[in-house]
Symmetry: C2
Amino acid sequence: MKFIIIGGDAAGMSAASRAKRNKPEMSVCVYEQTQDVSYSACGMPYNIADAGRDIDDLVVRKAKIFREKQDIDLKTGHRVESIDPVNKTIMGLNSQGNKFTDNYDALLIATGASPIIPDVPGFDLPGVFALKSLGDGRKIKEFLSSETKSAIIVGMGYIALEMAESFHHRGISVQMIKPRPQLLPWLSRNLANRIQNELTEHGVQLFDGHPIEGIESFDNQLKVISKDISLTGDIVLAAIGVFPNSQMAKAANIKTGPSDSILVDSTMATTENNIYAAGDCASAFHTVSKKQTWIPLALYANRGGWTVADNVCNKKKYIPGVLGTAVFKVFNLQVARTGLNMAEAKKFGFEPVEMVIQSRSRAHAHPGSGKIDVSMVGDLSTGKLLGVQMVGEEGVAHRINAPAIALHAKMSVEEFALSDLAYAPPFSPVWDPMLTAANQLLKKMS
Amino acid sequence: MKFIIIGGDAAGMSAASRAKRNKPEMSVCVYEQTQDVSYSACGMPYNIADAGRDIDDLVVRKAKIFREKQDIDLKTGHRVESIDPVNKTIMGLNSQGNKFTDNYDALLIATGASPIIPDVPGFDLPGVFALKSLGDGRKIKEFLSSETKSAIIVGMGYIALEMAESFHHRGISVQMIKPRPQLLPWLSRNLANRIQNELTEHGVQLFDGHPIEGIESFDNQLKVISKDISLTGDIVLAAIGVFPNSQMAKAANIKTGPSDSILVDSTMATTENNIYAAGDCASAFHTVSKKQTWIPLALYANRGGWTVADNVCNKKKYIPGVLGTAVFKVFNLQVARTGLNMAEAKKFGFEPVEMVIQSRSRAHAHPGSGKIDVSMVGDLSTGKLLGVQMVGEEGVAHRINAPAIALHAKMSVEEFALSDLAYAPPFSPVWDPMLTAANQLLKKMS
């Protein structure tokens, strides 16, 4: 039994480790095109923020450990280029330029995602970067110096925002530009406005609704050009999003789903026998919409790797749906979401009602309290909770897990409103902001 | 229709306000024995910690507002002394020493709880206090001065611990003593030990297993005497627990339940017609054990008040069970629980299995991470989650709400382990500590 894994980050190495734990006698081989495996990609903005920290601090487990302690045949510098599902082989090219082939009994495609680079001139200029792999992070860190005074970030998603804070932390002024209008269009307006203010207060300049025509280099600086404005900076970061690395899978006639992600079922199996996909290249089932979706996030990658390993080892395991539960930090704000927002809920045929409230992070009269904004969406026809978003200085990141569990449990807004949540003055009002939102939403729904 | 409420704190004033919102024409009369209504009792330790803050900052809504804006007939300084359920009357004594009587159509008993005072000499000495009412807090605050150098706290429950921090914050050294052995016996041992270390590191001395024989006064100080040791301090706080104020209800032939709390059904109705109870004097249905219990906490008091008001106004409302979800702060630690611990689970006939893990509050390599200890209890026979406890420097207070929702939803440990929780490096490892606990517990249960 030979289990081959293409890709050595979260999903790939989770699968490899778990397969060896499940069946130590199994032959497990991982092909990774770079030299980096098993690192915390999400930690890169925070590492880049601190010039004194080595980017390799983000490596969770070294290649040597996988090879020597876990008996995983980990081949770094090996880029798999094609899959032949009929003959159960893979073919590729290693970093020495040599071709290689291998045969599998089971295959996991964990090729991740790649940054979207706008198809306009100049994104290949020196000083223009994307941030997805540890190699990207390393290059940015090597580029940054005391001479770097200004950064232009193309995109305003959560990685773009984390990088805005990261640059700001290093004393680099930040301008952000994106082709489409609105900061965080998926976020309820009140909540997005609060983030906009937070960015502005930290001197970050926002230019939304400006399609990029190209980047030019002059005078040792870079100029990001759009129709009506052009921004000048020492470094440019392209952070407008990622796309799943599904080209090789498609070439092997494996079906793709939303956003061209590799379609998987609840065992993480693709449409081809004995071929699985997991991580940022794979689709996911959304628990609330009950539709396939593509939400590339770390926990799903790790859990997907485990699920594949268990199924490859004949321990039938099903992965439950995702909710898109996510949190990120922007300067002093925590931003979190789970489930569907209004637009998504409408798209999926619900009868959504939204309540947006502002409450406080601590009890009445308790010092140090901050504002928490909550958007809660319920379904008028069934009474069910559909999604929650929150923004606040404190207590948002972990609060979001409660409605996430409620969505898994298909709770109604009323059931959620009646739940027994924790209260102590330093941590919450008696009525937690989520309960206040639920109580108000219930009134609106009745 | 006349609705009479005995007691003007959380449950009583919530009920009064909601009844007037529901039915503005209803006659609502509240009898409160003190002059204080609607205050944040839980905030008292934090207020006492700060000599510069007025204790009346804790008043959420002033009597004047209830009377003038909400048209509630609020009678402070009126102590109700007996209830006659047959004639639907109450009788009492006001602060001027005058007797009063009144007739109700519906009655809410919201008499709260009182501190347990050990039946040994000396607890009535000047300088010996309890802390339950705002009046208690006021007296303590008036007593404390720059001359107060040392405090002895009798009891080690969460109010005792909050007050230890409060005294410490004012530069007062703290000794704590309790009759029975063990700090926080309801907490999993690893977790309790961490709290013990935290207290010790802050100079708090703990003496458990020392039955108190009395308190004596000498040399302007107080001596708390037990068989083998005696502790000397400038102030003594009795914080060994509270008991429900159910004496008057019992005298009116209303049935009581666990810990002598007034037995209520899911509409908060007592065993007597048209008489309800809510707040710290009332029993509660425990969602996990499916038994009546008595857990006097603020959210249940407020929610109970609402439930009574709705039922009095013929909007049939049911209050769901409680989980005993609670959180408190001890110096730099957050301590939280929801559901049953091992001993409780055994007592209620489950086949409990406990997993205790230690994880981190932030991602691998993210600076500022602290340890989070999690105890998770599952039921071997059904696979259900039964309870969770957590201790850590950050991220514990709100994390506990996720398993609370899971307990309401009667989730299995496996379902919880597969849930989509939030992850970002500043807030959590990829596998949230609760997921790690659930994954490990699952292994132990399989």
